[in-house]
């Protein structure tokens, strides 16, 4: 388990990380979701023993990173936000160097490198200089360097920044496979959808503070929302309000002639019971669009602003 306790770091007046705590359980993919400047990179740097915290503690399997840096760092694989590879070297050169830092030699090192290249799908480009790689390939190499010593914990700092959607999907798939093979993953991102698709649990971070932690379900419930139902049709606001009075389990969020936004209470009747009654011919509702609750909505609920700005 990776435990972060009251971790804090300030740069001059800026409280980059302002007393955060969370636990990453063995085997899970834990997401740290927050906008630019939220303190994600600073957090990763403190966990990985690069940046000394001003306060708090990081425990990796019970060991303090700053008390026993060398032992603990061996348990961690870190993939920084930047593409931190030597572009004038080949992919293999980069991995050879990286593997030797962890004391791998000879046949063992070769095997580890081949495995890492295989994992990220770069085996056929191993002998090429990184300079000739596409952005996505560089990202994958960046990722493979964090995997070379088969760490127990993989810390990924925004590993998909700046690449096209397809290359992003490839990275997410690799991360899923790595996690499936038993590696515990801490994944930072400012992309909602990545956190939603990838992570077992997510902590939402903003201005150096954690606003909420939990599974997707827990988080979305926290924002007080079930699905949102978007109704359009020939109904009037009054007629619909009357009709809704007879329905328990939904709350009107907006009501206008011909348009309504309803929130379904998670504890109320299911969609299967609600929908036929809403779509009743007499009600004048032509269409119901169902929107799943999202982290975006949670983020807005928690911070009063959208994530992407």
């Amino acid at each position: 388990m990776l435990s972060v306790r009251d971790l804090a770091k300030r740069f001059g007046e800026i409280r980059a990380v302002d007393g955060i705590s969370f636990d990453v359980q063995d085997g899970e993919i834990f997401g740290l979701l927050g906008p630019n400047g939220a303190g994600k990179t600073t957090t990763i740097s403190m966990i990985s023993g690069v940046l000394a915290p001003d306060g708090g503690q990081v425990l990796v399997d019970g060991q303090d990173v700053w008390a026993r840096p060398k032992q603990v760092k061996r348990l961690l694989g870190v993939v920084p936000q930047e593409i931190a590879v030597y572009e004038d070297l080949t992919a293999r050169d980069n991995l050879v160097f990286w593997a030797s830092l962890y004391g791998l030699r000879g046949a063992q090192r070769r095997a580890a490198i081949d495995r890492a290249l295989e994992r990220v799908g770069l085996a056929d480009r191993a002998a090429d200089r990184v300079r000739t790689f596409s952005g996505g390939m560089k990202r994958r190499l960046n990722l493979s360097m964090g995997l070379i010593h088969e760490p127990k914990f993989l810390l990924l700092d925004e590993p998909t920044v700046g690449i096209d959607p397809q290359a992003r999907l490839a990275i997410l798939e690799i991360v899923r496979e790595v996690a499936a093979s038993g590696t515990t993953v801490l994944y930072t991102t400012h992309y909602m959808d990545e956190a939603e698709k990838l992570c077992d649990r997510v902590a939402i971070i903003d201005h150096g503070r954690i606003l909420a932690t939990g599974t997707l379900d827990e988080l979305t419930r926290l924002a007080g929302e079930g699905e949102l139902l978007r109704l359009t049709g020939s109904f009037t606001a009054d007629a619909l309000r009357e009709r809704l009075g007879a329905l328990d389990g939904v709350e009107p969020r907006r009501l206008a002639d011909g348009f309504a936004l309803l929130a379904r209470r998670p504890d109320g009747p299911g969609l299967a019971q609600l929908l036929p009654r809403l779509l009743d011919a007499e009600a004048g509702v032509d269409d119901v669009a169902i929107q799943r609750p999202s982290l975006e909505a949670v983020f807005i609920a928690l911070t009063g602003r959208a994530l992407r700005d």
Binding site: K73, P80, A84
Partner: protein
Amino acid sequence: MAATLAIVRRDLVRWARNPGRLVLLLGMPLALAAIFALAFGTGGEAGLTVRVLVIDEDGTALSEFLSGALGSQEDTGPLDVEIVGEEGRAMIERGEASALVIIPEGFTDAFLDGRPATLRLIKNPAEQFLPQAVEEALRAAAVVLSQASRTFRDELAEFSAMLAADHSPDPVAIGAMSTRIAAKLQTVEPYLFPPVIELETISADGGDESDDGPSMQAVLSLVLPGLAVLSLLFFAQAATRDVMEEREHGLLRRLLSAPVGTGEYLLAKCVSVVTVSALGFALLIGIGRLAGVAWGPPVAVIGLVLSASIAASGLLLLLVSLVSSEMAANALTTIVVMVSAMVGGSFVPLPALPDFLLPVARLTVNYWATSGFLVLIRDGGGPADVVPQIGVLAGGGLAMLAVGAFRLARRIRAGDV
């Protein structure tokens, strides 16, 4: 320690994978040396001409061809070949030419019959140069060097363009810089001249009458040490630049997230900067040796190479530790390197350095390293004679290396990664 070795190895592999960088750093001083040699060459205009007389006693087609080839070249630079009659003997006696080449009667027949065909060479007794050696060396210089310099000026622009694509902005700066150097060289040419002439008396002591071309050697021996030291500083600059680059591209942060201590990292950096500098320097010394420069006793040369490399590395690492960005580092190191080359004897040979510059010159790596080589090459000194230079270079270098590394360590510990 394993991590330290891995980092050093990685740094060296990077150099091996970037031959362009190596060629540029080695080529620059050699090209500059060529320009210097040209300064000697274009000296024709300033009155320094090596005059060679040819008496053709043979008078056949072959001998005419030979003397014609010697005399009728369009651009022989400093070499003035004149076909003369018997009066040539009197002219050489009077010291009016450096050498007299006599193509004796029967030369062509002997040549055609496969018998030994001898050309007779009579040297000016006032000059210690062997005429044929002068001729060969200067002819080679005229052809090769004028060619080299003609292309050199054009290539400079290409150099910078090539490197712009290759690496961060720096090599561009180097390219631009070498352009400036070339321009500067031309303005200081008049000052370079006297020591080059002085050089004749230098090699006169040697009285070397072997087949070597003493004048080429002499020019190189005079200018190459200073330029090699300049190149050493460029090597150290390029090697320390990696420190900044690593920091700005997140590589340092990544490195420190591996089981690598700050001390191990900085030790590795010191070792690789010194190693790269020493290898680059040694390569230039080797090339100079092939070109005929007699550097002196190996022990003394190795001592100077190592201590100068430590000094150059220390200086550059210290400079880099004073600033916080790659760009600032480039600017600062370039200024310091160029200024110390100017005042420290890399461009103006030390004997020609104005006295008032001496106190400043003594603050430079260039001065101590170049003066060490001067002691070996010109004064025929041995290892004991360069102990002061080696001491200053090694001592000052280690001190600067230590302060630089200490400052960088403090910065890393403070979280500036």
